[in-house]
C-alpha cells in the first residue's frame, strides 16, 4: 500500500543498478577470477643471444642462456644459470613478433591455402591438423580432410577460432593479408601464431621468405632452402631463355574474376605484377598500386596484347567470359580481342596464379607459355581456356 508522502515505492535507480550489476558481474567476474597465485614471487631477467631470423643467414644458435634471479619472500637472492634445451627456439615473424616455440611443432594449423601448400611441399604435411576451407592442394589434403585426419577451421577470410583452439595446435600459421585483425584475439587465446606475408606478398622474395620462415618454424630449414633454390632455378631458367630469345615484351592485362564482378586487376606492389615481368610481359596496370579496379578507358588506352582472366568456374563459364570480353557491347577494341589472345584460367590454373606459394614456379611456366608461346610452346593445359580454341 501507499506509504507516506515521499516515495510510493523504492527508488528505481537502485533496483536497476542492482539488476544490471548482478547480471554483468556474474559473467564478467567469472571471467576475471583466476586460480589463486603461488606464494613465491620470481623475477626472471633474461639475457639471450639471438640473431634475427633473416633469409640466407646462419641458423640460430641452439642454446639460449637464461639467468634467473629468484626473489623469495625472505628476500634472499640466489642466482641460477640454466641452459635451455635446444628444443626451445625463438624466431621473428613478418610482424616482428617474437615467437617462442617450446618444441618442434607437431600440431600445425594453416589458415591459408598457400600456407598449406608450403607445409606439404616441405614434407611436414603429416604434422598439419587443421586447414582453411580453400586449401585443396596437394590432393592429399582433400583426402585427409575427407578421412577426418585434418579438420577444416573455417574460411580464409573468417577462421573459426573455436575450431582452431579445439585442435590444440602447437603452432598456427596465419596470413597477414587476411588475419591481422585476429591478432589480439589470438594472443588472448594463448595461441602460438606465426604471421607470414601470404596475400600481402609484394614480390617473389616475400614468397621465398615465407617458405623459409615456415621451414624454420617447422625445423626443416634445409628443405626450405632446397625448395626455394629449386623454385629460383626454374624461374631463373625461364627468364634466361627469355633473355636469350631477346623477345619483345608484350602488354598484359590481368583480370581477377569475370568482368561482371568489376574490372579488378593487380597493380604494382603485388607478386602477380612481378610474375608478369619475369615472364616477359608488361602489366598495363602497373602504374596503379595494389589490388584495384581499372576502367575500360584505361584498358583501351593501354591496348593490351594479352588478356588473362581468372575465373572460379567450369569450362562453360570460361567460354561465356571470353564471349563477354569479345562482345561489341564490352567495347574492348584492343589487340588482345582482335587477335583472340584471351586466356581464362579456371580450376588449378586459377589457384596457380593467385596463390603466393611453392607453385609459383608452375605459375611462371604457365604464364611464360601464354605470353611467349614462341619460346616455350603453347600452353597445353586443360584449365587454360584460350579464345583461339573457340571457333
Amino acid at each position: 500500500m501507499v506509504r507516506g508522502k515521499r516515495g510510493v515505492s523504492i527508488n528505481i535507480v537502485a533496483v536497476l543498478i542492482a539488476a544490471l550489476v548482478i547480471g554483468i558481474v556474474i559473467g564478467y567476474g567469472v571471467l576475471q577470477l583466476t586460480v589463486k597465485p603461488e606464494t613465491v614471487t620470481t623475477t626472471i631477467t633474461k639475457s639471450e643471444t639471438l640473431t634475427e631470423s633473416k633469409i640466407l643467414t646462419t641458423p640460430l644458435p641452439t642454446t639460449i642462456t637464461e639467468t634467473k634471479t629468484i626473489t623469495e619472500l625472505e628476500t634472499k637472492t640466489t642466482t641460477v644459470t640454466r641452459t635451455l634445451k635446444p628444443e626451445k627456439k625463438a624466431l621473428f615473424d613478418v610482424l616482428g613478433r617474437k615467437i617462442e616455440l617450446a618444441k618442434i611443432p607437431k600440431r600445425v594449423v594453416s589458415l591459408a591455402p598457400s600456407i598449406t601448400e608450403i607445409l606439404f611441399a616441405l614434407g611436414v604435411g603429416d604434422r598439419v591438423v587443421g586447414v582453411d576451407s580453400f586449401s585443396n592442394y596437394p590432393p592429399k589434403v582433400v583426402e585427409l580432410v575427407k578421412e577426418g585426419k585434418i579438420k577444416v577451421v573455417g574460411g580464409y577470410w573468417a577462421p573459426d577460432l573455436e575450431k582452431v583452439v579445439e585442435l590444440n595446435p602447437d603452432l598456427v600459421i596465419a596470413d597477414l593479408g587476411a588475419h591481422y585483425k585476429y591478432l589480439a584475439k589470438f594472443e588472448e587465446l594463448g595461441l602460438n601464431v606465426l604471421f607470414v606475408k601470404g596475400g600481402n606478398a609484394v614480390n617473389l622474395i616475400d614468397i621465398y621468405n615465407d617458405i623459409l620462415l615456415i621451414g624454420e618454424a617447422l625445423n626443416v630449414t634445409d628443405k626450405a632452402y632446397e625448395l626455394v633454390t629449386k623454385i629460383k632455378e626454374i624461374i631463373g631458367s625461364i627468364s634466361g631463355r627469355l633473355a636469350k630469345a631477346n623477345v619483345t615484351q608484350r602488354k598484359v592485362l590481368i583480370l581477377l574474376g569475370p568482368p561482371t564482378y568489376g574490372l579488378w586487376t593487380t597493380g604494382s606492389g603485388t607478386f602477380i605484377d612481378e610474375l608478369i615481368r619475369i615472364c616477359g610481359g608488361i602489366n598495363i596496370a602497373s602504374k596503379y598500386h595494389g589490388w584495384i579496379q581499372i576502367s575500360r578507358e584505361e584498358i583501351l588506352v593501354q591496348n593490351p596484347d594479352i588478356i588473362i582472366v581468372t575465373v572460379m568456374g567450369t569450362k562453360e563459364d570460361a567460354v561465356k567470359v571470353i564471349e563477354e570480353i569479345m562482345s561489341p557491347e564490352m567495347g574492348l577494341d584492343v589487340n588482345a580481342v582482335k587477335n583472340k589472345e584471351i586466356y581464362v584460367l579456371i580450376g588449378e590454373a586459377d589457384d596457380l596464379l593467385c596463390r603466393p606459394g611453392p607453385r609459383v614456379a608452375e605459375a611462371v611456366k604457365m604464364l611464360a607459355s601464354i605470353i611467349h608461346p614462341e619460346v616455350f610452346g603453347e600452353v597445353g593445359r586443360e584449365d587454360v581456356v584460350s579464345a583461339k580454341q573457340l571457333s
Partner: protein
C-alpha cells in the same frame, strides 16, 4: 484506492516483473551461450569450467583448450550484450529527441560518421586506434559529426518527420562511401585489411576490451537515466517542455552527446551493426509503456538480449560449417521486416 494510484502501481509492478524476468533470462542466456559454438564441448565440461573459474576446482579438472574456448564464448556473449545495450539505449534517446519512431543510430548518420573518423585516424596513425580510449574519443566525435550534419540538413529541409529520415539517409550514405574509399587507402598504405567493419563482428573483442566497454556503458546508462524525465517532457512537444521549465535545446544536445558516446564506442569495438537501435525502443515501449524512466532500464535488457540471440544464431550457423556470417546480416534480416511494418503503420496514420 484511487484509480490513478492503482494504475501507477500496477505499471510499476509490471516493470519490476519485466526486469526480474529479463535478468533471469539474461543469466540463463549467458549459461546456454557457453554451450553453443562450433567446437563440440559437452555440458559436463561447462560445469567443470564453471567450477574452475569460481575457484572450486584446480587446474587438473580442465584442459587449457576448453578453458580458452569457453572463455571465448563468454567474452563473445558479453560483448554482444553490451553492444546491444549501447545501441538500444542510443535508439531510445534518438527516437525521443527527434519524436520520430524511425530514428536510430545508423539512419541518423552516427554509425557511419564514427566509422569514417576511425578510418581517418587509422590512416594518420594506426597506433591512435589501438589505444582504446583514443579510439572511443575519435568515434564519439565522428558520431556527433554525423548527427550534427543530419540535424543541419534536417533544419534546412523543412524540419518535418520525413525530412529527418531523408537527411539521415543522405548523411549516412555519404559517410558510408567515404569510409569505403578510406578503407581502400588504408589497405594500400598498410597492405592489410585493418578495420573494415562495415558489417560488424562481435567475436574480435578481448577481455580487456570488455572492461573499457563496461565503463563506457555504465556512464552512458547513468547519464541516460538522468535524462529520462526531460525526455518524458520533450516528447509531447518543444513548447510543452519549455513551459514545463525545460530547455528543449539542451535536452537534445545532451541526448545527442550520450547517444554519440554510446554509438561511437559500439562502432569502435564491433563495427556497424544496424537495426538494433531501431527495433529495441519499439519492443521496449510495447512492453513497459512510454515513460522513459522505465523504458531506458528495460531497453538495457531488451537490447542486450536481442543482440545476444543474434550472436547465438550466428554461432549456430557456424556449427553447420557454413562459416561465420556477420552479425549485421542477422539484425538486418530481423530488422528489415520490422522497419517495413513501422513505415506502413506510420504512413497510414
Amino acid at each position: 484506492m484511487s484509480v490513478v494510484g492503482r494504475e501507477y502501481k500496477r505499471r510499476l509492478r509490471f516493470f519490476y516483473l519485466t526486469l526480474l524476468f529479463s535478468s533471469i533470462l539474461f543469466v540463463f542466456t549467458l549459461i546456454i551461450s557457453l554451450t553453443i559454438g562450433s567446437a563440440g564441448i559437452g555440458v559436463e565440461w561447462i560445469a567443470r569450467w564453471l567450477m574452475f573459474r569460481l575457484g572450486f576446482a584446480n587446474g587438473n579438472s580442465i584442459n587449457a583448450n576448453i578453458l580458452a574456448i569457453v572463455d571465448l564464448r563468454l567474452t563473445r556473449t558479453l560483448t554482444a550484450f553490451i553492444i546491444g545495450v549501447m545501441l538500444g539505449v542510443s535508439g531510445v534517446i534518438l527516437q525521443a529527441c527527434s519524436r520520430n519512431p524511425l530514428a536510430d543510430p545508423f539512419i541518423l548518420g552516427l554509425s557511419s560518421g564514427a566509422l569514417t573518423f576511425l578510418a581517418i585516424a587509422m590512416l594518420i596513425s594506426p597506433a591512435l586506434v589501438y589505444l582504446r580510449p583514443i579510439a572511443i574519443t575519435i568515434a564519439f566525435i565522428g558520431a556527433l559529426a554525423g548527427l550534427t550534419l543530419t540535424l543541419m540538413l534536417f533544419e534546412a529541409t523543412g524540419g518535418t518527420s520525413t525530412s529527418l529520415i531523408l537527411s539521415g539517409i543522405a548523411v549516412s550514405t555519404m559517410f558510408g562511401g567515404l569510409s569505403l574509399i578510406l578503407s581502400y587507402i588504408v589497405y594500400a598504405k598498410y597492405k592489410t585489411h585493418i578495420i573494415i567493419y562495415t558489417l560488424g563482428s562481435v567475436n574480435l573483442a578481448t577481455r580487456s576490451d570488455l572492461t573499457v566497454m563496461v565503463v563506457v556503458l555504465s556512464i552512458g546508462i547513468i547519464l541516460a537515466l538522468l535524462l529520462s524525465k526531460p525526455l518524458n517532457a520533450l516528447i509531447y512537444g518543444d513548447e510543452y517542455a519549455q513551459q514545463l521549465g525545460y530547455s528543449p535545446r539542451k535536452i537534445i544536445r545532451y541526448g545527442s552527446i550520450i547517444a554519440s558516446f554510446l554509438t561511437g564506442t559500439a562502432v569502435a569495438f564491433t563495427g556497424i551493426i544496424g537495426f538494433i537501435g531501431l527495433i529495441v525502443p519499439h519492443i521496449t515501449r510495447f512492453i513497459v509503456g512510454h515513460d522513459h524512466r522505465l523504458v531506458i532500464p528495460a531497453s538495457i535488457f531488451i537490447g542486450g538480449l536481442i543482440l545476444c540471440y543474434a550472436d547465438l544464431i550466428v554461432r549456430l550457423v557456424a556449427i553447420t560449417g557454413f562459416g561465420e556470417i556477420p552479425i549485421g546480416a542477422i539484425t538486418s534480416i530481423l530488422g528489415g521486416p520490422f522497419l517495413a511494418y513501422l513505415i506502413v503503420r506510420n504512413l497510414k496514420a
